[in-house]
């Protein structure tokens, strides 16, 4: 009972927040709606006993990704009216994607995996089952290859981003901190006898 109530609260809120993202006039508010949406999605994860995923969602998306989003949005001078200019032009493409997604959702919902009986069968596991441990075991044994491939792709992306933005400038004087720290008195000073 109380579980269903919370599910509907979180689900409704995330839909409202999702609508808020695209309807907000101020881009800053769009970002905030998206953060709110993530919180509600995390709430849904908690309802499914997947507290690890819920917390990671907040930690990674809200705590890091959205901060950078907000950071960028803060710097931009965005004109919403200008952004809306191409609305009709993009409507057919967007509408088509939405339509395909909807068909996929309906197909998934009616496939039987999410039927009432299947969901009832899963139920809640006991308190001794720690889903962090379970996810770890699966991720590092059965799905190790996929995990490593994903890690390598991320590493390549990371290096790529650094390479794209790395510029060495010759006209700027950089300090070499270890050299600065290692300087001894003898390197810089010498005692000169001044003739009087």
């Amino acid at each position: 009972m109380i579980e269903a109530f919370f599910f509907y609260v979180f689900a409704l809120m995330s839909v409202v927040a999702g609508a808020g993202v695209i309807l907000a006039r101020n881009t800053m508010f769009s970002v905030m709606w998206l953060i709110f949406c993530f919180f509600n999605a995390a709430g849904l994860f908690f309802m499914l006993d997947a507290e690890f995923l819920g917390i990671i969602l907040i930690l990674v998306y809200v705590g890091a990704v959205m901060v950078l989003f907000m950071f960028v949005v803060m710097m931009l001078e965005l004109n919403k009216a200008k952004l809306r200019e191409g609305f009709l032009q993009y409507l057919p493409t967007g509408g088509m994607i939405a339509f395909i997604l909807m068909i996929e959702f309906i197909a998934a919902a009616s496939s039987g995996v999410f039927s009432n009986e299947a969901i009832m069968a899963v139920g809640h596991l006991g308190k001794e089952v720690n889903n962090t441990v379970e996810i770890g075991k699966m991720l590092y044994t059965q799905y190790l290859l996929g995990f490593e491939v994903a890690a390598i792709i991320l590493l390549v992306a990371l290096v790529g981003a650094i390479v794209l933005t790395l510029r060495t400038r010759d006209d700027v004087k950089y300090q070499n901190i270890s050299r600065q720290v290692n300087v001894r008195k003898e390197d810089r000073m010498k005692i000169v006898k001044v003739k009087l």
């Binding site: 507290e51 907040i58 950071f71």
Partner: protein, 354 residues
Amino acid sequence: MDGLDIAVTTLLWVLEILAIAVPVALSVAYITYAERRVIGFMQARKGCNRVGPHGLLQPLADGLKLFLKETIIPAKANKFLFVAAPVIALTPALIAFAVVPFGETRLFGLWDTPHVMSIAHLNVGILYVMAISSLAVYGVLLAGWASNSKYALLGAVRATCQMVSYEIAMGFSLVCVLMLAGTMDLSGIVHAQEGGFWHWYIIPLFPMFLVYFISGCAETNRTPFDLVEGDAELVAGHIVEYSGMWFATFSLAEYAALILISLMTSILFLGGWYAPFPFLDFIPGTFWLLGKAAFFIFVFIWFRATFPRYRYDQMMRLGWKVFLPWTLAWIAVIGIFTYTPGLQDLIAFYQPWR
């Protein structure tokens, strides 16, 4: 569950929350007093000593002053976010305390097994604290943006870079703790350090302890990492347009975060509520935990009186080029020790999950 049950449970929750939130607010007030006295002592002057005996009523006078001051909202500010930002800053600082275990109690022999004193017993407690404290940056960011002032905006931009950078080093230093404790539950981590100071994780993880504590200092924007509000160049950074109660809310959030970092450092590296020697166990664990946290709060104040502010590029360098490689190397060291047959025995002492 009938109506009475729900009412009693709700009442208990409210009491539990108040039992943590009220002491936090009070200790924030007296940390500001301690800070002024300690820094005064270190700089060979008196500090506040006028209001009440030894100036002990100074925090109350300050609170009253801030409460009665007018709150000024700049005309061009985004009013909603300007007012919301201090609240957004304070909320994560307070709700992170929900999982902090303050000790173990049998309630004077009423219970047979000791219960951990925390509002919520999460088995991902350490991640919860990480996630919630990473939200603190929003308060700063929104305050800077909503103020519509160049200094505030610059402060917010600096805060974002700083917090995001140091969070990574902080997270990796926690990974080392997790590799030893084998659990993400905060009370489980404390239990893993039971039995005297030679079991504490500060010994195998000393570099990580330094990284965690210094990163915590950077996360809470304390000196020497207070570039966010660097008063010489940015006036006061994101709080430049705030006055009265809203200003006080920001400092409340900052000091609450300070207390949290001190508590977390004690829990993760200094054995939480355990005494350094088992024969000192007759002193309740909560006193030990709070004593350790109080020491770290003192160290934060000590830092403030001692160190000059970092230059911005040096601070970023420290985060990315010093701490991050340190933590990654230490994770590798712990991992190698854990799974190499000869070295296993050395570290098994600290790994109760074996």
